[in-house]
Amino acid sequence: MGDPPVMVFKDVVKVYPLPSGDVTALDGVSFKVDRGEFISIMGPSGSGKSTLLNLMGCLDTPTSGDIYISGIRTGDMSDKELTELRRDRIGFIFQYFNLFPLLNIIENVTFPMMLKSQKEVDPEKGRAALRLVQLDDSLFTHTPTEISGGQQQRVAVARALINDPDILLCDEPTGNLDSKTGAGIMELMSELNRKGTTIIMVTHDPNIAKYSRRTILIADGRIVE
């Protein structure tokens, strides 16, 4: 028997109750993601991509249906358990990099490690992760504001990978970069995927989606392809 899927959605529904009436953002979404996949999620604005990403990242809970991360059902988990799940099994990469301005590059990268170990960590592990994303050693002690957008996104990738997550969730990872820098980041993602990292990426850019090996197209809260 092989590894269980790293992520399973079973008939997931997400409804936002609003004063003007309920809005169904996801309507019976089911899919699974196997280890080592590189999936892009595409769809027009308002189709439910962000809602799907939030549910995959355990940042939100479904109205109905079940979500499994690495075989663990998330529906009955407490906030503490979900936080631990995000910390240990999911890596996040955001469009706007979202590094911590008060910490230098090494500290940003090792931050999730410190959360996990609850003590000081070996900065050499951070350096190794930064070298993996091809960031120059001379930048390690700089603050995020002192480096370029592309370099910041590489740091964000290193931070997302530092705890060896089961899944890398990327929200428009090249959305705030020029095309050349964006291509460099996507090459990096492809390389990571080739080494075994499971990647799920939300994008509206078909050129970026080409880097993935499977595309989930979503419209009106339903998977259409």
Partner: protein
């Protein structure tokens, strides 16, 4: 300890507002501690002045009734008196404690040829009782009717020494007495105030002023005896049918005075506490600002696996740093402020470096830290309970 580091760095990059918030705590601690020091100094100062009379029960005629008392003689004296018979009753009732009858008047006196005449209180005491009531700083107790003791202030003010002569009465018609001793300063007292007075023998007083009744009876309560019991004994004995004497327990009176001083100290310290509350509001304000400015950062932290308690700790650390540094600086400055206030208002700083003066400083510092932490709790709780998705969307 990454959250401790983040807290420190956040305060450092907002140095001005952090310093201002800290300044509020400094002022609050100084206000509380220096008021506490002032109150403590006041209590110690009064306690020092009064502790020698804390073992007395003073019996005086009841001025509201008056039956059973004769009108006394003496210059200008029209008050009620305690008869010798009543004195004997008091003496028996309080034995083995010593009951000392006191005669009192005031008269004109001249301190030497060519000097001005003055008017001063005169106490008449049995020579055997004098050592029980007062100590001398110079000379000796006199058993002779021709001897006189003078109070320390009296001696200083009028340049009187042992051996000086004092003529009493207009043109010295009541006699001239020789100073045999100078009484040690007694300060404020409930029984007799000798600092600016003179003390003669009871015999001379009786003969000169034709007095046989007493103004007061001072009962010196032995160590280990409850003065309240002595007071009750006298009242039961003397005020059986009518109230003929008033009895004052100096220890109880002292306790009342100290209670009053304690209340005053608490009141002024509470006023100082208002500034601490204001400082706390300032801390609360900058902590709320800090949370508002970092909502997105908190959202990111939560999304990548930071627990609520860790977010909370980060803001509590900020409040703690402000509180501890501000309070410690305030504590140090309050010693200086306490020194200044004591020197200025009480003309003494000798009570500053005693343990009881350290207590208001410790209380002020602790209060500063507690207020800072308390004012940091709600902003920290608010930060910790932000919904990660909403926090990340915040711009």
């Amino acid at each position: 300890m990454i959250f401790w580091e983040i807290a420190k760095r956040n305060l450092r990059i907002h140095l001005l507002r952090s310093t201002l918030a800290m300044l509020g705590i400094v002022i609050g601690v100084v206000a509380i501690a220096s008021m506490g020091i002032l109150g403590n100094t006041l209590v110690l100062s009064v306690s020092d002045s009064l502790h020698t009379v804390g073992d007395s029960v003073i019996v005086s005629p009841y001025t509201g009734g008056g039956s059973g008392f004769r009108q006394g003689g003496g210059v200008g004296s029209t008050s009620l008196k305690i008869t010798d018979q009543q004195y004997q009753q008091i003496k028996r009732a309080v034995a083995p404690n010593i009951a000392i009858p006191v005669l009192q008047t005031s008269d004109i006196m001249k301190l030497g040829v060519g000097s001005d005449t003055i008017v001063a209180p005169i106490y008449g005491l049995n020579p055997d009782d004098v050592p029980n009531l007062m100590k001398l700083k110079a000379g000796s107790y006199s058993r002779s009717d021709s001897g006189i003791l003078v109070g320390s202030t009296f001696a200083t003010d009028h340049n009187v020494n042992v051996g000086s002569r004092i003529s009493i009465g207009t043109d010295g018609d009541k006699g001239t007495l020789r100073v045999t001793g100078i009484i040690e300063e007694r300060g404020i007292s409930f029984d007799i105030s000798t600092d600016s007075a003179v003390v003669v023998t009871q015999n001379w007083f009786d003969t000169t002023y034709n007095r046989i009744d007493y103004d007061t009876v001072v009962v010196k309560v032995d160590q280990g005896v409850d003065s309240a019991v002595v007071k009750t004994t006298i009242e039961k004995q003397m005020n059986k049918r009518d109230k003929v004497v008033s009895v004052m327990d100096s220890k109880a009176t002292l306790a009342t005075i100290f209670t009053a001083f304690g209340a005053i100290t608490t009141f002024v310290t509470a006023i100082g506490g208002i500034s601490m509350i204001v400082a706390g509001v300032s801390i609360f304000n900058i902590m709320m600002m800090s949370v508002s400015e970092r909502i997105k950062e908190i959202g990111i932290m939560r999304s990548i696996g930071t627990q609520k308690r860790e977010v909370m700790s980060m803001f509590i650390y900020e409040a703690a740093i402000l509180g501890v540094i501000g309070s410690v600086i305030g504590g140090v400055l309050s010693i200086i402020a306490g020194y200044g206030v004591s020197a200025l208002l009480l003309n003494t700083t000798k009570y500053l470096f005693v343990w009881s003066s350290a207590i208001p400083i410790i209380e002020g510092v602790c209060f500063g830290i507690i207020i800072s932490l308390a004012c940091g709790v709600y902003p920290a709780w608010k930060a910790a309970n932000l919904i990660p998705i909403e926090a990340m969307r915040h711009e």
